[in-house]
């Protein structure tokens, strides 16, 4: 029985390939073929009906309690049916228009619709809604449940738990231009959230497979007011139970010692500052006595960046010295804090395309959690110097959307990426930036090519990462301020945002090799046909 079901679905995966859609390149546009999947094969004259299956490994079994919804292309809900014990559903009557059918059940996600790797099906009921069995396959998502405790192993209520796909995960929804409203439920984006009860317990269900960042954030009235994030990989149907997240659990230690290697004259006022390396901005400060001694009565466990500030005279003139980072793992007496062997980075910023903005605002960000340094320079004097940097790996980022970083040349090496290696001593850099953004725009039409399709999705993937936009009522879309380069491009009548991260979605849509070249400072018009 189950084997039969699988075979039937395999058979229904075959599809027609429509001829390549003619496009209207206005400028320097290169278009490769778009593949458009077939409509559902007409099997009978019955009203829309079908079966929803639970896909569990190699086994398909009917799934009851699934809500199958019929919506208009504009997203207006028309009808809802629910599957019976046999997984069957039936719409007795639907209005004569194009209909989007989808299936949903809490804790599950739709893997295939009408034999295709999709979460929904578009039916054309405008003249005759006669369709055969329209089946869905759903997969039980992963469940993560557990408890949030404080440092004394006591439960914390009202802690908000959110699971978001980690960058690069199959469920990644970190699109630059995705409206926040799309990031709500696990069935659409892979994200989920819950709140702990008075026992500190929570449950997240229906997670798609992938790596998630699970964040626990205590509410404002809770104490400790702390946020903790862990990374977690889940698989289909997996139950991760008994996960314990601890807030405010960090041990607190007394740290004392002396400051060495920093010049201190009588009458100087000296303070030592510890800043948590994790970027939490939690910091501790202690004054240094005449014997160069310091004492922190209660410092949380962790790694800290350290610095000493010596203030002289009145008005005070302060000198800051970067000290070696410290690890706090227990009560420590006799710690010696010494100046760190820091490095400097200096160089120029070169504009390699586009019009220079009034100033370049850039950020040197540590890849090792050593913080970030923001700096600004003017185009007329593009030199910069950054001192007191702890050795390590850094990257250069644009802190403004007026330009982007094309690459960094360090010494004789030309790096296509923006990475910088900082060691003790001085390093020279040349940072190439550009402001020659381009625009890609056009119209998305129905698979038949006859009419513009209202509100489809379009995505590009290339030099500027993945960018997803939704077209307007007339199917018009714009990718504004795209970094020039090579992209592949695709359009879908509807797609779940997380699916755009999935290579299979591009392949299923026939867009895997659908490449366009976006020249610098250009406007590229391209018309697309959507995949149903």
């Amino acid at each position: 029985m189950h084997d039969d079901g699988l075979q039937r679905h395999e058979a229904s995966r075959s599809r027609l390939v429509f001829p390549m859609r003619a496009v209207l390149p206005v400028s320097r546009c290169l278009l490769l073929p778009l593949l458009v999947a077939a409509p559902l094969s007409a099997l009978s004259s019955a009203a829309p009906h079908g079966t929803v299956y639970l896909h569990d490994g190699a086994v398909l079994s009917p799934l009851s309690g699934v809500y199958v919804t019929a919506k208009s292309l504009q997203g207006r809900l028309l009808k809802t049916a629910r599957t019976d014990d046999g997984g069957r559903y039936l719409f007795a009557e639907l209005p004569p228009q194009r209909i989007v059918l989808s299936s949903s059940r809490s804790g599950y996600y739709t893997d295939r619709a009408a034999g295709r790797s999709d979460s929904q099906v578009i039916l054309d009921c405008s003249s005759n809604c006669a369709q055969g069995s329209i089946d869905f396959e759903m997969i039980r998502g992963a469940v993560v449940s557990g408890q949030v405790l404080d440092g004394l192993r006591e439960p914390i209520d009202r802690v908000r738990i959110s699971a978001r796909p980690a960058a690069g995960s199959s469920g990644d929804s970190a699109f630059r231009r995705l409206p926040r409203s799309q990031l709500s439920s696990p069935t659409t984006t892979g994200a989920a959230q819950a709140t702990t009860d008075e026992r500190g317990r929570f449950r997240l269900a229906g997670l798609r497979p992938g790596v998630y960042r699970l964040t626990a954030q205590a509410s404002a009235s809770n104490s400790p007011r702390e946020t903790r994030t862990i990374e977690l990989e889940v698989h289909d149907g997996e139950l991760i139970d008994g996960l314990t997240i601890t807030l405010g659990s960090r041990a607190v230690f007394e740290v004392s010692g002396v400051l060495s290697g920093v010049s201190i004259a009588p009458g100087d006022r000296v303070r030592v500052r510890l800043e948590e390396e994790s970027g939490s901005r939690r910091s501790f400060s202690a004054s240094v006595t005449g014997a160069a001694a310091f004492r922190f009565p209660a410092v949380g466990e962790g790694r800290y960046l350290a610095s000493a500030t010596v203030s002289k005279g009145s008005p005070a003139r302060s000198t800051r010295t970067v000290l070696d980072p410290i690890d706090v793992r227990g009560d420590t007496a006799g710690m010696v804090l010494r100046p760190a062997a820091t490095g400097s980075v200096m160089g120029v910023v070169e504009l390699q395309g586009g019009t220079a903005p009034p100033q370049f605002r850039l950020r040197l960000v540590s890849n090792d959690g050593l913080g970030a340094r923001l700096f600004s320079i003017k185009p007329e004097d593009p030199r910069f110097e950054l001192h007191d940097l702890l050795p390590g790996s850094y990257r250069i980022e644009a802190a403004s959307s007026l330009f982007y970083v094309k690459g960094v040349r360090q010494g004789a090496d030309l790096a296509s990426a923006s990475d910088v290696a900082v060691s003790s001593g001085s390093q020279r850099l040349s940072i190439a930036v550009a402001a020659d953004y381009s625009h890609v725009y056009g119209t998305i039409r129905e698979p038949s090519g006859r009419r513009p399709l209202p509100h489809p999705w379009a995505a590009v993937d290339g030099a500027d990462g993945k960018v997803l936009v939704k077209a307007d009522q007339q199917g018009r879309f714009v990718f504004g301020k795209i970094v020039p380069g090579e992209y592949r491009i695709c359009a879908w009548a509807d797609i779940q945002p997380y699916e755009v991260e999935d290579e299979a979605s591009w392949e299923a849509a026939g867009c895997a090799e659908n490449l366009i070249q976006v020249p610098p400072d250009s406007q590229v018009e391209i018309d697309l046909r959507a995949v149903p």
């Binding site: 009851s64 309690g65 809500y67 199958v68 919804t69 809900l77 809802t80 049916a81 629910r82 019976d84 014990d85 949903s104 059940r105 809490s106 804790g107 469940v143 404080d150 440092g151 004394l152 006591e154 439960p155 914390i156 209520d157 009860d197 008075e198 026992r199 500190g200 449950r203 269900a205 229906g206 009235s221 809770n222 104490s223 400790p224 405010g248 041990a251 607190v252 230690f253 007394e254 009565p297 209660a298 227990g330 009560d331």
Partner: protein, 533 residues
């Protein structure tokens, strides 16, 4: 390694490290324990607020592993202490004054927190399938001097398995209700228009089986069935008579009225620009449809409707300026020199006290009273400021005595000629509450709540009343209409509801009956009911 419970002790250490000097050195400390097990409670969030000065001086701390907490370095003054912990009832507004001890104090006060209860179960449909995302609401069932009432205590939603759990409930009686999933979701659309269901399986709150939750107890297995039975709608129009236009933007809500219980249902809607409204998901029964102007608080209107087996249409409601209510005070055998000066006539909504506005007017020297612009509603009639021994005995309209001390104001009809009869033969009850069944059983006075309940089948003006004992255990009721009553006493800290007929029945052996003649004074020694928390 030292694990410090919170920043508290670190902060305390910092305070202490600053030394006595000129710094404030007051100290407030305590121990927190479970009221049921007596074990120390750690991680209790304690907050301190200086209440005796116009400052924003606040401190927070967490109790440590031994349940202790301490605030050091406090300036002089009176502080308000609040203790909060997940799963325990918050203890608020505890008054505390700092002392000057700096070391450990064996005489630290002990604060007891009650562990809260929970109700849990599953939401299923008529075929036994779990229903996720169903909205579960728990109503506290209370008993006051004017009868039973319900109020929303907590809410939750069923998870992907259809399981729900409503927590942080104080001990008490509760009605458990399930409503369909939110509109806009696939499940919500599937169940659109489905009426709310009360445990175990009824759409009438009076037929619901109350769930009794004890301190620290979870009542599980309270399964709810959501079925797509026929539900009805109420639709119509709302006209704003004052503005002379449709009441666009006014809020319309449905309140189920069932055998004395009034349940605020979630069904609410906003009147359309054309003045139309439609409420869905109503099961058969009596309802009050309430209209409120969202900008003008006292502009309301209400209409009582009964749904039997069909939806109601064309319900026309006018949001008018209200009607005048005029009347006079009639004094029955008054003592010499009594004048109705400084008396106030006070109207409060019988069914929707939290929704409908109150109304009041001073009684004039001529014994007349005039209230203007009173919205249509049924009001409880009271007179404030009566002298000792006086009470409201009856209401009369057109020479006829009304069955209750209530007045119904209609939408289009002025209410004139109301007579409020005041009698002066009220009795007085004084007494003491004693620990144990009788004075001889031992035990001294205790802080208690005393309930005075009129026996059944007497005149409507005999009303229930409650009083708190003084520190010496004494209590009193005056201006009590003559008649037969029963008195009960329970500890003030107890949540047992003495107005609950079931509780009264259980406490028969601790009750004291009094039969009051006109102007009689009686003294009662009342045993404290040994009710458990």
């Amino acid at each position: 390694m030292r694990r410090l419970a919170a920043l508290t002790l670190a902060a305390a250490a910092l305070w202490a490290a600053e030394g006595p000097g000129d710094k404030p050195n007051g100290r407030i400390s305590g121990l927190v324990r479970s009221a049921t097990t007596g074990e120390p409670l750690k991680s209790v969030l304690t907050s301190l607020r200086l209440s005796s000065a116009n400052t924003k001086f606040t401190r927070t701390a967490m109790s440590g592993p031994g349940g202790g907490f301490a605030f050091l370095g406090l300036p002089e003054g009176e502080y308000e202490l609040t203790l909060r912990k997940s799963g325990y009832r918050t203890l608020t507004a505890v008054t505390a004054r700092p002392n000057s001890h700096t070391g450990p104090d064996r005489s630290d006060p002990v604060f007891q927190l009650q562990p809260t209860g929970a109700v849990s179960g599953r939401v299923l449909d008529s075929e036994g399938e779990p229903v996720p995302e169903a909205r579960v609401k728990v109503y506290a069932l209370g008993y006051g001097e004017t009868g039973a009432w319900v109020g929303v205590a907590a809410r939750s939603e069923s998870n992907d398995l259809g399981e729900y759990r409503v927590h942080s409930l104080p001990a008490g009686k509760y009605l458990v209700q399930v409503q369909p999933p939110r509109p806009g979701t696939p499940a919500g659309e599937f169940y659109a228009g489905t009426a709310a269901v009360y445990y175990p399986r009824t759409s009438a709150p009076s037929q619901a089986l109350p769930v009794t939750v004890g301190w620290g107890h979870e009542v599980s297995g309270i399964d709810l069935e959501l079925s797509r039975k026929a539900a009805y709608s109420v639709s119509g129009s709302v006209w704003d008579q004052t503005e002379g236009e449709p009441c666009f933007g006014c809020q319309v809500s449905a309140h189920q009225i069932d055998d004395g219980l009034v349940v605020d249902l979630p069904e609410r809607t906003i009147v359309s620009p054309e003045g139309l409204f439609e409420l869905h998901g109503l099961s058969p029964g009596d309802y009050k449809i309430l209209v409120r102007h969202l900008d003008i608080d006292d502009r309301t209107a209400q209409r009582r409707v009964a749904i039997t087996n069909r939806s109601l249409e064309n319900i026309a409601i006018t949001l008018g300026p209200g009607q005048p209510v005029w009347g006079e005070i009639v004094l029955e055998d008054p003592p010499d020199g009594v004048e109705p000066t400084d008396w106030t006539v006070y109207f409060s909504s019988v069914l929707l006290p939290s929704w409908a506005p109150d109304a009041e007017a001073e009684v004039e020297a001529t014994s007349q009273f005039r209230l203007e612009g009173v919205p249509a509603e049924t009001y409880r009639f009271e007179i404030l400021g009566l002298p000792s021994g006086a009470y409201l005995k009856a209401l009369q309209l057109a020479g006829q005595r009304l069955p209750a001390l209530e007045l119904e104001v209609f939408e289009h009809t002025p209410l004139l000629g109301v007579q409020a009869v005041i009698a002066f033969d009220g009795a007085t009850i004084t007494g003491h509450v004693r620990q144990g069944r009788s004075q001889s059983a031992g035990g001294g006075p205790i802080k208690a709540r005393v309930a005075l309940i009129p026996n059944p089948n007497q005149a409507a003006h005999l009303k229930a009343a409650t009083a708190e004992t003084m520190p010496d255990g004494s209590f009193s009721f005056d201006s009590v209409p003559p008649g037969a009553y029963t008195l009960y006493a329970a500890p003030s800290t107890n949540t047992v509801q003495l107005m609950d007929p079931a509780v009264q029945n259980a406490l028969q052996s601790f009750a004291r009956a009094v039969d009051l003649d006109p102007m009689q004074s009686v003294t009662v020694e009342l045993p404290l009911a040994p009710t458990a928390n």
